[in-house]
């Protein structure tokens, strides 16, 4: 529905506003929508419209920027505050207690809680013009991970599943799509084959558990047991030819393969020296990032690592609020990027930081920030991305997008572009409905070097 619009290419603020209004309303492009309620939210201030002039629509869907072989998606769960991290508004009341610090790129400023990331800002393309449709956590997460709004009648695939579907398995024995420390509900493979479902690792310190058979079982007796399962299960499977039943067949196969893989130690963080583990931070996120690095070293395609606790409605500046989360993020993400660079992996590994929405510019009565889908931030690094710059801007208080708005679909299209996924191609669900990898999002091709 957005094929005739391009988020990179709004000749005027008005056009962006129209675009935003239409996408917010989830309707197809019809002239004259500006009159509808809801659209008004974004049409309030047109007087300061900046005419940036028409630019050529960016080509998208061609895999010309495809240099990434791996993706590490750092998921900031709970909605990361943009004003205190990457979208500083010095001098404004909405800035709160956070002060800006300089980075290693002149003119680029981060929040003071991110001193290590500030030292490698030259690697980061920071997007400050994200905006989304919903201020509801689950809805926002789903949209960011799939580019589609969550509905009851179908489940859409996450980006990791799309990558495996289109590109095939990169690592033939280890799981090629891994979810570290994520919540129970993840879109996973959606309507695609269950084989592409991310393998969840709840606690990175424990790695992948239960991968060895009891000592008294020989390889042969294990094989025997597997055959028995097959025999006992035959009647049930025949009776219930359903996807949810068949899915387990694929999980059995993958589990069996995994148990006999020599590469399993990729999941074992004890293989790392203590000082390396310390460097990443001994928290779950830090160890999760280290695990992600090990998996990428072992040629795993897609890893998502989450850092929870960003839902800071109360006392955002208290020690267990922003300072703790930002420190965990700053430490682990900076070490991860540096490590990947040192190992020569950064050029082919796209590191992405994303979150479901931002937090309100206004600090509430409980000294916290509430949900804010109007504007928020994220970043990309490595994988062919040119760092050391900001992309897009929010308005003076970080309330709405001012320039170069980026939707979750655009964000995912950019990941797809880096991986070389065909963004224009239609894929059909079992019920015959067509879907695209990033739901017609437009890749931010300007981000690529």
């Amino acid at each position: 529905m957005l094929t005739d619009l391009n988020s990179l290419d709004f000749p005027s603020r008005r056009m962006f506003l129209e675009y935003a209004a239409k996408t917010m309303l989830g309707v197809t492009v019809v002239p004259g929508l500006m009159g509808l309620r809801g659209a008004a939210a974004f049409a309030a201030d047109d007087s300061k419209a900046k005419d940036k002039g028409a630019k050529k629509p960016a080509a998208s869907g061609s895999p010309r920027n495809a240099s990434a072989k791996h993706v590490i998606f750092l998921y900031m769960n709970g909605a990361m505050t943009h004003l205190d991290t990457f979208d500083l508004k010095p001098g404004r009341e909405t800035q709160g207690e956070t002060k800006g610090i300089n980075t290693n790129v002149s003119g680029m400023m981060f929040g003071e809680r991110l001193p290590e990331l500030a030292k490698i800002a030259n690697q980061l393309a920071v997007i400050r013009s994200m905006h989304t449709e919903t201020g509801d956590h689950e809805g926002g997460r789903y949209l960011l991970r799939t580019s589609y709004k969550e509905i009851a009648s179908i489940r859409h695939p996450g980006m990791g599943a799309w990558a495996l579907k289109v590109l095939g398995r990169q690592n033939k024995t280890l799981p090629d799509n891994v979810l570290v420390g994520g919540e129970a509900r993840h879109p996973g493979a959606g309507f695609l084959e269950p084989a592409f479902t991310p393998v969840p690792v709840g606690d990175p310190n424990a790695g992948l558990q239960n991968t060895t058979t009891p000592k008294y079982l020989t390889g042969e007796s294990f094989e025997k047991r597997m055959q028995l399962i097959d025999k006992f299960d035959a009647g049930f499977r025949k009776k219930f030819p359903q996807k949810q039943v068949e899915a387990y067949g694929e999980f059995y196969r993958q589990a069996d393969q995994l148990m006999h893989s020599d590469e399993l130690k990729a999941f074992d963080l004890n293989q790392e020296k203590a000082d390396v583990r310390d460097k990443y931070g001994r928290d779950q996120f830090g160890q999760g990032c280290l695990l992600a690095r090990r998996l990428v070293e072992n040629n795993v395609r897609y890893v998502e690592v989450s850092l929870g606790g960003w839902d800071m409605h109360t006392n955002i500046y208290d020690q267990n609020g922003l300072p703790t989360r930002a420190a965990a993020l700053d430490r682990a993400a900076s070490v991860l990027i540096a490590d990947l660079a040192a190992k020569g992996l950064l050029s082919k590994t796209l590191v992405v930081l994303g979150t479901e929405f931002g937090r309100s510019p206004k600090i509430n009565q409980n000294a916290g920030r509430d949900h804010h889908p109007g504007a928020y931030s994220g970043f990309m690094a490595g994988g062919g991305i040119k760092g050391g710059r900001f992309y897009g801007t929010s308005d003076k208080d970080g309330h709405s997008v001012d320039q170069d708005g980026v939707t979750p679909a655009d964000f995912n299209a950019t990941i797809g572009q880096a991986l070389g996924l065909p963004l224009e191609q239609e894929f059909f669900s079992k019920s015959g409905r067509p879907f695209k990898v990033a739901h017609d999002g437009k890749a931010l091709v300007k981000l690529f070097a």
């Binding site: 309030a44 479902t197 779950q284």
Partner: protein, 652 residues
């Protein structure tokens, strides 16, 4: 203690002999905990024996089913079937065949008690020739503790119950226990909701206050959650702007939120009730004199901050946001409470708006309250609601069968929100007692209820089923009653002294409490896992736990548990300790199998324990061949293979 020491480890005396008999009890796990315990006891005998630490328990009363209303239940179930049959005819649907007794007993146990039936229960049901045995089993199960346990797991996912911190320095345990007790006593659903919405006080004094404390500091989100959970309606979008997909305006959202905005969840430290001045600063200063190591930081916050957390009405007024942009109001204009739909809620003189709101929400006249719970519980039984999604009802939502949903709603009202009686009716329908639908059910198509849909067990059902297979008295263990910690944590800040707080903190960390907890757990532990009902384990479990691997919610959002499969689940089933405990000689499974002498008899025990049915001829041949080839180890292989089948994981 001697009574409690039973569960998994009942057959201690026979361990050595039996191990030799079957062989498959050997494993790489080393000595069982009980054997380790015995040798420790032997050494300890030289010292004077210490009296066992006290293990306080909670008295549980489960409300029974009133058998005198059976004829009414049967009549109501028949009426439901008439309405369903009408849609079969209308949409040309052939209903599924009636479920076999074997399918029925497994399903009814899982749906009502949250676990598969035990071997003994399967045998008893199979041997019962009473024509009313299904109906009677429904009554029995609804009157047992398993009902509360199973529905507690269900509500834990919806209400985001946490035993740990509910909000800053406030433990959730008392609230969790209150929910459990409400289910045990079958508190009418409207009363259950009303008590949560109107609760006042601290968590230890009025645990229902946990509902409001859960969303402490988020008054607008709290309203959004309340309307979603209890009225099946999503107004969240209207928090920031007029709802794009429904009719709610931002003003209406604010008018609803105005009912509860005047409710505070935290007392100020300067509140007059504490005697003037900042009571927290004062006590912190005093604490430094009592505890030399105290640096004035957060160490005593569970006492200081925790006791400030209290639900009370401060009558604050809600104003529209500063950037309000619609014509029907001005920025920062104070809004008066106004209900969304149905008979308007009018605030009576001297009544708190929150009470008015609770009365309006839980009223039988509210057009969505009874309907939402009727639809919810229908989905819980059949796997699909009459309106989907169950928590996003709109004015134009068309139920699959409007007459049926109307009838179910009116039944809920007639029953005065007696949830057990309602479930009793649903379970007695022919539709519920049919086979699960064999073919793939397409989420995009309307489902006409030819029978329930096939569902994978929830995480808690998988776990509880394993416990049923392994443990002798799976319902025996109780988690520590909330009163134990409440006695330590609850204090009156107006009177509290630093000495008292110090003393209580010592008590909290003392060896006595730890010993009591160890004594509670020790007989139920196997390889570090506490083998008890999921509802008696703290919620949520840590990320690596079996329950989380199988999809237990992290309790951060409403109803986010998952029934999807994954590779770690399969690895857990293949190699994890929970599967292998079934092969240990101390397990119930082992005892039941060894109580039969012939291989045929033993195979029946294994199949009936795990799948509630006997082996088919083909399966029997395969199992016998396995046993013939591998001897006693073959039994272990058959058990292992059966719990690893999909048939085990799914509810037919």
């Amino acid at each position: 203690m001697s009574v409690r020491r039973s569960s998994l480890l009942a057959l201690v005396g026979g361990v050595a002999a039996l191990t030799v008999v079957l062989g498959w009890s050997f494993s790489d796990f080393g000595p069982s905990p009980v054997m380790a315990q015995q040798s420790k006891n032997a050494k300890a005998k030289k010292k004077k024996p210490e009296p066992p630490p006290p293990v306080p328990e909670r008295k549980i009363k489960t409300t029974l089913i009133d058998s005198s209303t059976r004829s009414k239940v049967v009549a109501s179930a028949a009426k439901i079937d008439v309405l369903i049959d009408a849609n079969y005819a209308k949409y040309k649907v052939t209903p599924n065949p009636v479920a076999t007794d074997e399918q029925f007993i497994r399903r009814i146990y899982l749906d009502v008690s949250g676990t598969i039936p035990s071997y003994k229960q399967v045998r008893a049901f199979a041997g019962n020739s009473d024509p009313d045995k299904r109906s009677k089993l429904i009554d029995t199960l609804l009157g047992q503790s398993g009902y509360a346990s199973n529905f507690y797991n269900y509500w834990t996912d919806i209400l985001r119950l946490k035993d740990g911190q509910l909000t800053n320095n406030v433990p959730g345990r008392p609230y969790c226990e209150w929910v459990k007790e409400s289910l045990e006593t079958n508190k009418p659903y409207d009363k259950f909701v009303y008590e949560m919405l109107t609760a006042e006080g601290k968590i230890w004094e009025n645990p229902a206050a946990g509902y409001i404390l859960r969303d402490s500091g988020m008054p607008l989100d709290a309203m959004n959650n309340t309307v979603r959970i209890f009225l099946g309606t999503q107004i969240g979008c209207a928090q920031c702007h007029d709802h794009p997909f429904d009719r709610w305006t931002q003003k209406e959202f604010y008018e609803m939120a105005a009912f509860t905005f005047g409710t505070s969840t935290r007392r100020g430290a300067n509140d007059k009730m504490f005697g003037g001045g900042n009571v927290i600063s004062k006590l912190r200063d005093d604490m430094k004199k009592v505890d030399e190591k105290f640096d004035g930081g957060g160490k005593y916050n569970r006492f200081l901050q925790g006791n400030l957390a209290e639900v009370y009405d401060n009558n604050a007024k809600l104003a529209l946001p500063h950037d309000y942009r619609y014509d029907n109001g001005k920025p920062k204009q104070v809004v008066a409470p106004k209900s969304l739909f149905g008979p308007p809620a009018s605030i009576e003189k001297g009544e708190s708006p929150r009470v008015t709101f609770a009365k309006w929400l839980t009223s039988p006249q509210n057009p969505r309250f009874a309907k939402t719970i009727a639809n919810r519980l229908w989905k819980k039984s059949f796997g699909v609601g009459l309106i989907e999604p169950i928590d996003d009802i709109k004015d134009d939502s068309k139920p699959e069968n409007p007459e049926l949903l109307d009838y179910l709603t009116s039944e809920m009202v007639r029953l005065k929100f007696d949830v057990k009686e309602y479930l009793r009716i649903v379970c007695n329908t022919k539709a519920y007692q049919r086979e699960a639908t064999h073919a793939e059910v397409n989420l995009a198509d309307e489902y006409h209820f030819p029978g329930p849909v096939l569902r994978r067990m929830t995480a808690e059902q998988v776990w509880d089923s394993f416990v049923t297979l392994a443990v002798f008295k799976p319902d025996e263990y109780q988690m520590e009653p909330a009163r134990v910690e409440a006695k330590i944590l609850n204090l009156d800040l107006a009177k509290a002294t630093a000495e008292e707080i110090y003393k209580r903190d010592q008590e909290r960390t003392s060896g006595d409490l730890r010993k009591s907890r160890e004594a509670r757990d020790k007989d139920y532990k196997y390889k570090g896992q506490l083998l008890v009902r999921a509802s008696e384990l703290p919620s949520p479990q840590p990320p690596g736990h079996f329950l989380r691997q199988f999809g237990q919610s992290d309790r951060e959002a409403i109803e986010v548990s998952s029934e999807d499969g994954s590779v770690p689940q399969v690895l857990q089933m293949f190699n994890g300790p929970i599967t292998h405990m079934l092969l240990e000689s101390e397990s119930l499974m082992y005892k039941n199998v060894t109580s039969e002498r012939t291989p045929e008899g033993r195979i029946d025990v294994i199949f009936q324990s795990i799948l509630a049915r006997k082996a088919s001829p083909d399966e029997r041949v395969a199992a016998l061949a396995e046993i013939k080839t591998h001897g006693d180890i073959g039994y272990g292989n058959v058990i292992w293979a059966l719990v690893n089948t999909r048939e085990f994981l799914f509810v037919q």
